[in-house]
């Protein structure tokens, strides 16, 4: 497949860019932060996004979706990355919807997917149990008690954990087999602690104390493979978002140094900065390539997805760090102030880098996949 967007994908991207610039710019995130907004995202913007079909892109038509594919979703994510838009896109659409598509029963799909497509239901994936990404190293347990399952454990850094209506929870039995369960956020025994993260996005610790559920998701004991595949898709989607963040930070920096004068000339005329800028340009070009290739691999159901997902998440983590660091340095003192927006990009980059595994995690995984 050619490494270019189709016309439809390009149109979707263009319209997303226009909408987000108008309705969810960086200033909107600042406002949510400064007002210590209770929800941490803007529900009316989210409703509008859903109305435009962004929550339905990967949902089959049978369940009220558009079945447009992940390459399309990636374009939306890239644009939200540019505007640093806080929304349930990553938690509910990119991650949980993928899990539901792959594992849910028809009845579960019927019950959940149309509501997600309409922007009326938020589902968060409660998986990690420490600050460092190790999705299958869990201690949260399940036991069967008659018709229902009993869950116990502590989940950390659950994206949108404090605004979710439902959780998909990973837990293991005594034989260390991992299963997934659906749990209502208001179920007895669920306690939620909202966290204030560096990037002002939503995350929470979710503890489960003798929580009852009778909603198993997928086949019991086969959760591990499901988690890995869904996470790979989420890694690629997050990489697409990071591509937007990185490009926007870079373009703003280039505009800045074209104009900003020191010693009577634009600082963009200093060759040392130019060479660093040109190097960043190249890395961003590489980022574009791997993100597009990985998105296409999802839609093509390619066997190479795991490797491409690690390549994408690693490369974007590396480049987002490089570019946002250099952005602040190129801006100079003004870049250190909260008034200037460039610092928001630095902060978002650091959180996104850690989410779903950082550079080192994926470098290690890549080497192992290649047999060394």
């Amino acid at each position: 497949m050619a490494l270019v967007l189709t016309e439809e994908q390009q149109m979707l991207k263009d319209s997303a860019k226009e909408y987000l610039k108008e309705h969810a710019p960086v200033a909107a995130l600042r406002k949510l932060r400064d007002e210590r907004d209770e929800k941490g995202y803007n529900p009316s913007v989210w409703k509008a996004m859903a109305d435009m079909g962004w929550a339905s892109l990967t949902i089959p038509e049978a369940y009220g979706g558009l079945d447009f594919g992940y390459t399309g979703l990636g374009q939306i994510l890239e644009e939200t990355g540019r505007t640093l838009t806080a929304s349930p896109l990553v938690s509910t659409v990119l991650l949980s919807t993928t899990l539901l598509n792959k594992a849910a029963s028809d009845a579960q799909k019927e019950a959940l997917l149309p509501a997600i497509a309409a922007g009326e239901l938020l589902v968060a994936f409660a998986s990690e149990e420490s600050g460092v990404h190790r999705p299958l190293h869990i201690t949260t347990s399940y036991t069967k008690a008659g018709d229902t399952y009993l869950l116990n454990g502590k989940k950390q850094f659950v994206l949108d954990g404090h605004v979710a209506d439902k959780f998909i929870v990973s837990a293991k039995n005594e034989e260390d087999a991992i299963s997934l369960f659906l749990v209502d956020a208001d179920a007895t025994g669920v306690a939620i602690e909202r966290l204030t993260m560096m990037d002002s996005r939503n995350a929470a610790h979710v503890s489960l104390k003798n929580v009852h559920t009778n909603e198993l998701l997928g086949v019991a004991g086969e959760g591990a493979a499901l988690i890995e595949t869904s996470l790979d898709i989420a890694r690629v989607g997050l990489a697409a978002e990071m591509l937007g963040t990185t490009q926007e930070a870079f373009e703003r920096t280039m505009s800045y140094i074209r104009e900003r004068k020191q010693f009577g000339v634009p600082i963009g005329s200093f060759q040392a900065l130019q060479h660093r800028a040109a190097t960043m340009y190249g890395e961003i070009e590489n980022c574009k390539s791997i993100v597009l290739a990985a998105l296409q691999a999802i839609d093509a159901d390619s066997e190479h997805l795991p490797r491409l997902a690690s390549l994408a998440k690693a490369k974007l983590g590396e480049t987002a760090q490089l570019v946002t660091n250099e952005a602040v340095q190129f801006y100079g003192g003004i870049g250190m102030t909260d008034d200037e927006e460039i610092g928001f990009f630095l902060k978002r980059a650091r959180v996104a880098q850690q989410t779903f595994g950082d550079y080192n995690y994926h470098l290690d995984r890549y080497a192992k996949m290649n047999g060394y």
Binding site: G131, H133, M197, F263, Q329, G335, T337, V351, N360
Partner: protein, 390 residues
């Protein structure tokens, strides 16, 4: 008194007189006593510790006694520093008066000025701040625009400074102002002391990406300043500025918490060992690489100071020290974040040390900007040490 005896007595005195709560690492602003006309002590211990040290002249141990210092010679001052470090004693008084203005006055001030200002600095009576940078000037310090017009017996100051540390709390500011608008831009700058309580001076704090506001914008609107407040010659301020910048660079290069936990220990605590090696085999060489560079860099600081003692001036080498020290510090915080994962990105909450790590991480990004950017330091090295053509 022999130096050995001095060491023994100093240690005994510190052990007897430094309150236990003053023997803890400095973590936040109020852990230090900053002095000023409206002094604030965070605790009774902090007050006692300041008073006991001040009584001996040990708020600034190496200044002459006549200016309120301790009159210690270099060797004694070093011993005192070592013994304080051994006990983890906090500095009894922290101020830009001690670190910045004092050295400038000792070097360039008149005897009257020394007697007028230095004792108040050692006593912590005046809070000084620095007024160098201006909006839009950035690295081009010599391009500053704040005007000091000659009005016979006084100057009339109009203009704006930025990045003035704690100007909202300060009593006085030491400033670079333009006293001549003609000729080379470096040649029209003077070094001026201004009472912040003078009518026409106002400040506005700047919020940083770390969330803190240690700096201000400072505005001068027809501010009258007596001509005697000039240090050195009129239009001779550039030499003082350069002297202080070199001084500041050396200070910044030395950044780092005292008696700090080594980075690798930090990583071991977070990640753990496996077969005696850091369990994260990818992070391990990165930690080791940083630690090696850090250990060697400390030797370079020591060597350059040893050479300086032998008469080879430090000069532009301080630019390298500033550059390398600040880049190392930034890299250290990147590695700390890498070692802690998302936990190190929580911005608030007691369980997360009120976000000390991510906030300090953000703060370090300014290390390579303030006091002359890394780019400026590299320019200085290539021009003044490597003699590369411009």
């Amino acid at each position: 008194m022999s130096i050995t005896q001095f060491r023994t007595e100093t240690r005994a005195w510190l052990e007897a007189n430094c309150p236990k709560s003053m023997q803890k690492p400095v973590k936040k602003f109020t852990d230090l006593y900053w002095g000023g006309s409206k002094p604030y002590f965070d605790s009774e211990d902090q007050k006692i510790w300041f008073e006991r040290m001040y009584e001996r002249g040990w708020t600034v141990p190496h200044w002459p006694k006549v200016y309120g210092g301790g009159g210690l010679n270099k060797e004694e001052a070093k011993v005192l520093k070592q013994e304080m470090k051994a006990l983890n004693c906090r500095p009894p008084l922290y101020s830009f008066g001690i670190s910045m203005l004092g050295p400038a006055l000792l070097h360039f001030g008149s005897e009257d000025q020394k007697l007028q200002y230095l004792p108040d600095i050692t006593a912590g009576k005046i809070w000084w701040c620095q007024g160098y940078s201006e909006p839009g000037a950035g690295s081009d310090l010599a391009g500053l625009q704040t005007r000091a017009e000659d009005k016979g017996d006084h100057y009339l100051i109009n203009g704006q400074k930025v990045w003035t540390s704690y100007a909202d709390k300060a009593d006085w500011i030491f400033c670079l102002v333009r006293t001549n608008t003609e000729g080379r831009k470096h040649a029209g700058i003077s070094f001026l002391l201004i009472d912040m309580h003078t009518p026409g001076v106002s400040t506005r704090p700047i919020k940083l990406i770390s969330g803190a506001s240690p700096f201000c914008e400072t505005f001068f609107d027809n501010v009258k300043v007596p001509k005697t407040n000039i240090v050195g010659e009129e239009n001779g301020g550039w030499a003082i500025a350069k002297y202080l910048l070199t001084h500041e660079r050396e200070m910044i290069a030395g950044i780092g918490e005292p008696a700090e936990v080594p980075l690798h220990q930090n990583a071991i605590d977070t990640i753990g060992l496996s077969n005696g090696m850091l369990a994260d085999t990818i992070l391990r060489p990165e930690i080791a690489r940083w630690s090696m560079n850090n250990e060697i860099f400390k030797m370079t600081i020591a060597r350059m100071l040893d050479e300086a003692k032998q008469g080879q001036s430090l000069g532009a080498k301080s630019s390298f020290l500033k550059y390398y020290g600040t880049e190392l510090n930034k890299e250290k915080l990147e590695l700390k974040l890498a070692a802690t994962g998302q936990t190190g990105l929580v911005w608030e909450g007691e369980a997360y040390d009120d976000g000390h790590l991510p906030k300090y991480f953000c703060r370090t990004k300014g290390n390579s900007i303030e006091g002359g950017t890394s780019e400026i330091q590299l320019n200085i090295v290539s021009k003044h040490i490597l003699r590369l053509p411009s």
